[in-house]
Amino acid sequence: MENTNLTLGILLQLCQLLLVVLMAPLLMGWVNQCRAWLQNRSGPGLLQPYCTLRKLFHKDAVLAHDASPLFRMTPYIVFGCMWLAAAIIPIIAVDLPFSPAADVIALVGIFALARVFIALAAMDIGTAFGTLGARREMLVSFLAEPALLMVFFTSSLISHSTQLPHIVETFAHHEFVLYPSLAFASVAFVMILLAENARIPVDNPSTHLELTMIHEAMILEYSARHLALVEWASSLKLLAYISIGIALFLPQGIAGVGNWNALPLAVAALLLKLVAAGAGLALLEALIAKMRIFRVPEFLGTAFLLAVLGLLIHFLLGA
């Protein structure tokens, strides 16, 4: 029995690994499709990101003459980081073999690793835009990172653990409690998600104006498979963040320890949540305009403040 469970667990873990990497572009396609609908456009279709990836993988890569190995390595590192992050977050079942690795602080570290590499790669080739993008990315992320940690700490304090499976287990499978502190944390988290995934109002993923770009400016010099990996990593990152959001704030429906029968329902619930989250993201982006870059610190400062408020409320109310 023990052995079967372990095999099943590993199988499931592999399933999640495959699922996230295959599903991430679909999520991106869904968000784009929703954005198009909200703008009265017919939109490119759900499968467009796959077509783009296929096209990019078929192209020959063009590299700058003075690109160092770092520049070539970075897409793989970033892709690996994001894949790992998305794969270990408990979204289907809580007791998968890799789950102990899913420590929230480690997750923040994984994101930071990817960011450092992509910023270095952006500066590596020495174009004005790469440096510009890297500088702005650092401005955004050094403010977003502590806010993200604060969000995590709020939920960790409630569940007495920084392990994501524990946190999820606490929220999902105990009696339903409304935590006011989590309400603040969730608002802060949405703001961080927007900033970290280069979405409106911080960045505009669909812009062609090179001077306004943040994330896109960093990857302007990438082409073909490198670009494909970076794009894919971006969609994985979005999936990972939405997964974290689901795990922290809406884990209901996830399969409990050893409860394999709940799996089909858990997958269905997850899909529903992702669809709703994607649509919500698109709606948010349709309603707001991009802010001046110097408003971003205010925006992320607000996120940090909300997260800290969540923490304080937890201490004050114990909830």
């Binding site: 703008q39 009265n40 456009r41 812009t207 104006l209 309603l287 870059i293 110097f294 408003r295």
Partner: protein, 623 residues
């Protein structure tokens, strides 16, 4: 008389707009410009023409480096057979000024060998680039002007050959291979100036001491070129260092930007190839952090020889080309061209044609304003606004295609009238469209104005104070947003605008928000005008009084308030009545330099928004 000056005799030109023509001497140019400027007038356009007699061998290029270098003291020997007419009828400089009374066209004969004229860029800063372009195209130059960098020429054709000269041969000059001493035309140009105005230029000389080891005069610009060549040597295929190792010729495309120095200051070069599909232009930002300390533009990438092409076209072909100078203003250009031709031929188009022209012009304005308002939404990432406005613009253009046969209304205005009629039954389509646009645009205006995020981006960005706008001659829509109340439809109403009572939209703030407000106001005003035009459209079958050929030695000028600002077309004909020189002038000439000022102190990511709020033409000024 729009202005009075003792040495100026103005003659009224025929035509729809009040315009006067006067011949002046070089010495009178500055006082007259000063006079117009002091009276609140502006510079509209500056262009040159080649009036030398042909086939006389009098075309030794005056700016030829060797020629000039050797002729510092003695004037260059007149080539054989080059009798006085050659000297007397040399080049000509034309300056179009405007004040409240109307258009003043000044023509000034320039020497065939030393075609110099006084620099007017200190009175009208906008003249600077026009003067540089005039040198690139024709080899006539403003003395005392220290900016000798090529404007439209780039590396496409050799220095010392000027396409708009009548003796320019097209084929051998288009080879971009650099030759020794080619770039030396720039210092020699200054030499020429020294020769004629020695006293003034020794001053310039003392500031820029001769230091070139090659023994060539080093002017301000060559020195800059050298530094640029040293700092950025990009070896290109097929390009070799010549025997002299001459740096200037090694870098035919060197263009030294003014550098800002200081701690933390760096440059961001943007373009001419951009991340999006837009027209090419190079922008050099000097920034500290995100703050823009200086912006310098460089254009000329869409130079396609339009002015040269005009010379070999018939009047009717020219009308088609005029409509393609800048595609978004095709109606304005075609009308201005037709107006100039009609002025020479003293023809007045039928009334119905004039009303239809006004209808086209207002439709062009509506389409462009809708498009720009959408783009402005897009630039602040409010894609909703972008999509909505572009749906409206698309609807308008589809109606254009159905009713008039062309989405942008190209070739619908011909010299003498219009080429297409509006059927009685189609008028209802336009009225319905008008009502729809009015309703939707008002709704969208409300959304833009109440959207905190959008207004936060618009307000205060790219501000041009009215005082600065007046100094720099900001014109058109952008000018009206900075309290520069110029609108040719209001001030010089040609038929049918004299019956329409156009309300000018102006605003004082001069920021992006102001330009958006002016766009909205003009949009609604144009919709109102379109309704008026439809109501008053005179019936008749007479659409055009075609002009077969223009009279000889004529000069005509046409000015139309396009959506961007006043579009001007000047036509010169030769003795046989062929087009000998056509100069289309876009308001972008005046407004691009102001953009450099508008972004100062703003942050780099706001530039695209500010740029879009001006939405100037590259094609229209690169020609």
């Amino acid at each position: 008389m729009p202005i009075t000056h003792p040495n100026l005799r103005l003659t009224r030109l025929d035509g729809a707009i009040p315009a006067w023509l006067g011949e002046i001497k070089p010495g009178d140019l500055l006082p007259i410009c000063q006079n117009v400027s002091g009276g609140g007038g502006r510079l509209l356009a500056l262009w040159g023409s080649d009036a030398r007699e042909q086939g006389r061998g009098c075309d030794t290029l005056p700016a030829e480096p060797a020629d000039c270098g050797s002729s510092r003291i003695a004037p260059p020997p007149a080539p054989e057979g080059c009798a006085p007419p050659c000297r007397g009828r040399g080049f000509a400089l034309h300056v179009a000024l405007v004040n409240e009374a109307g258009l003043i066209c000044l023509s000034m004969a320039l020497d065939a060998v030393q075609p110099v004229y006084p620099d007017i860029s200190r009175i009208f800063p906008a003249a600077s680039r026009m003067q540089r372009a005039a040198y690139d195209m024709l080899g006539i130059y403003a003395q005392e002007n220290h900016d000798h960098r090529k404007w439209v020429r780039h590396a496409a054709w050799h220095g010392g050959s000027f396409p708009l000269r009548k003796d320019f041969e097209t084929s051998p000059h288009l080879n971009p291979l650099p030759q020794a001493g080619e770039e030396a035309t720039v210092p020699s140009l200054l030499e020429g100036g020294k020769q004629s105005e020695g006293a003034l230029l020794t001053d310039a000389q003392s500031r820029d001491p001769l230091s070139n080891s090659l023994g060539e005069t080093t002017s301000h610009s060559t020195r800059l070129q050298e530094t640029a060549a040293k700092s950025l040597v990009i070896p290109q295929a097929g390009e070799r260092t010549n025997e002299k190792g001459n740096l200037e010729s090694l870098e035919p495309d060197a263009y030294p930007f003014v550098q800002v120095e200081g701690q933390g200051v760096h440059e961001i070069p943007v373009g001419p190839v951009h991340a999006g599909t837009i027209e090419p232009g190079h922008f050099r930002f000097s920034v500290v952090g995100e703050k823009v300390l200086r912006l310098e533009e460089r254009f000329g990438y869409t130079h396609k020889g339009i002015e040269k092409r005009f010379e070999s076209l018939t009047l009717q072909q020219g009308a088609k080309l005029a409509g393609r100078v800048s595609g978004d203003s095709t109606v304005a250009y075609a009308w201005a061209y037709a107006m100039a031709a009609e002025s020479i031929a003293a023809v007045t188009p039928p009334d119905r044609a004039l009303w239809l022209r006004a209808l086209f012009l207002e439709r062009e304005r509506i389409a462009n304003h809708l498009g720009d308002l959408g783009y402005l939404g897009n630039d602040v990432a409010l894609s909703f606004g972008f999509a909505q406005f572009w749906i409206l613009k698309e609807q308008l253009m589809r109606n254009n295609a159905v009713l008039f046969g062309h989405r942008y209304l190209m070739d619908q205005i011909i010299p003498g009238g219009v080429a297409v009629d509006l059927a009685e039954s189609d008028m209802q389509t336009l009225r319905d469209e008008c009502a729809m646009l009015e309703r939707e645009a008002r709704l969208l205006r409300g959304i833009y104005e109440e959207h905190a995020g959008v207004q936060d981006r618009f307000i205060g960005a790219g501000r041009v104070e009215p005082k600065l706008a007046a100094q720099l001659g900001l014109c058109g829509l952008a000018g009206r947003a900075s309290a520069q109340a110029w609108d040719a439809r209001v001030q010089f109403p040609c038929a049918p605008y004299d019956k329409l009572d156009v309300q000018m939209a102006t605003y004082r703030n001069g920021d992006v928000a102001a330009r958006v407000i002016v766009r909205f106001d003009e949009l609604f005003e144009s919709l109102r005008l379109q309704r008026e035009i439809l109501a008053n459209l005179i019936h008749g079958d007479d659409l055009a009084r075609p002009i077969e050929k223009l009279p000889g030695n004529g000069f005509g000028i046409g000015m139309v308030e396009g959506w961007r600002g006043e579009v001007l077309v000047a036509i010169h004909t030769d003795a046989q009545g062929n087009l000998t020189r056509v100069h289309p002038h876009d308001p972008s000439w005046q407004n691009w330099p102001v953009l450099e000022h508008a972004v100062l102190g703003n942050i780099v990511p706001d530039f695209p928004l500010i740029n879009k709020s001006f939405n100037l033409s590259y094609s229209g000024q690169d020609l």
